[in-house]
Subunit: 226 residues, 2 copies
């Protein structure tokens, strides 16, 4: 994280059995073209083919760090504060996963301000991705249930408990999850975007959820490809 995109390689396999894909492909490449213009990267290549399987696409985006080195998920320390850039949950059901704004500007600001020790985006769910960040950093964490921003994409008629589970495990949010040392927390006040303080890193040994004055183990919910 903390990189600017340089070039995209867009590969597609068009289905020979799925009807005419021309209209879809025109919108697809228009969308990629718009992003390339906005975020100043090139569409540098990729494969195009056809097969009798379903439509498939793979985009490989390469970039370069905005500072000296990228911000990894392995730098979080005991005592760091945990933040997220936006509300979570309900992405797949609402179609948000196809229309979200990539947090490139936010990632760049955080890297340039040099206030983050670790950063990743939430693609498979806050809980699962936080477990990965903790494992890579060799630390534990405590999430504060009442401070986790639940998206209004999650059905408001569901119970608070159910809504929290959506925020923890739905995934496809593509918000930034990052850690800030206590000495840099004040820097975040100058951030030109919203940040939500959702917890704190601790020594390795447990990843917990704190609510109603009690602490419980955080189940590792989220999307698993395998």
């Amino acid at each position: 994280m903390g990189c600017r995109p340089v070039a995209a390689f867009v590969s597609i396999a068009v289905s020979t059995t799925g009807g005419d894909a021309r209209s879809f492909l025109e919108r697809f490449y228009d969308g990629i073209g718009d992003l390339a213009t906005e975020y100043e990267f090139s569409i540098a290549g990729g494969d195009t083919t056809a097969w009798d399987g379903p439509f498939a696409v793979n985009v490989c985006l390469i970039g370069t760090p905005v500072c000296n080195s990228p911000v990894l998920r392995s730098g979080a320390c005991d005592g760091d504060q945990l933040y997220v850039t936006g509300p979570l949950g309900g992405s797949l059901e609402s179609g948000h996963h196809l229309t979200f704004v990539p947090r490139l500007n936010e990632s760049r600001w955080l890297a340039e301000t040099n206030c983050v020790t670790s950063m990743m985006d939430i693609s498979d769910g806050l809980s699962l991705d936080l477990h990965r960040l903790c494992q890579a950093s060799g630390v534990g964490a405590t999430l504060i249930a009442g401070q986790i921003p639940v998206s209004d994409r999650v059905d408001s008629e569901k119970s608070a408990e159910q809504r929290l589970l959506h925020a923890l495990g739905d995934g496809e949010d593509f918000e930034l999850l990052f850690t800030v040392p206590p000495t840099s927390v004040a820097d975040l006040k100058r951030a030109p975007f919203t940040v939500h303080h959702i917890g704190e890193m601790c020594q390795a040994g447990g990843i917990c959820l704190s609510r109603n004055g009690a602490t419980e183990n955080l189940p590792m919910t989220g999307w698993r490809s395998f």
Copy 2:
């Protein structure tokens, strides 16, 4: 062309309905690992996912020119001589398309020797790919039928005419097709690999096959994805 590989991004979609792919994937990644070691590039990333479609893989390989700039397919000139690095035809039927040796060393030597005006690899068939080279360069070409090396992967019991058609249109050969100006032809004698002289570039206007003392238009045979 004329580049050395730097990094590969390997993306796979494993079929959830196709049985256990573990053994195949181990051999697949072993093979990529061997190539990465031999040709000195990194396996720098890629996506892994599972879906209910067939197994799918996409490899994006980025590189850097061995000289000042890459050798393009657009540099061929009227009078340049046309060469290929190896025999053609029968690749898909014989399985050669899964075991071929990428012509990276040959490409590098040709670029460093600075003797080529254009270069591409033959993936979709000599005839179709030569048409593309001619179109990009704004020239025509004459292939000399009797000098086109037909691979012994092509059934030897077929007629000479049929064997030639395989060499022209089968594709998946992954040999280099390149053009050399008359003043640089002598440099090729020092090449530490075999080259086959198969024709000559001419002014735009026709791509022809010369045989038995006559010249005919070269049909644009080859693999077309769409």
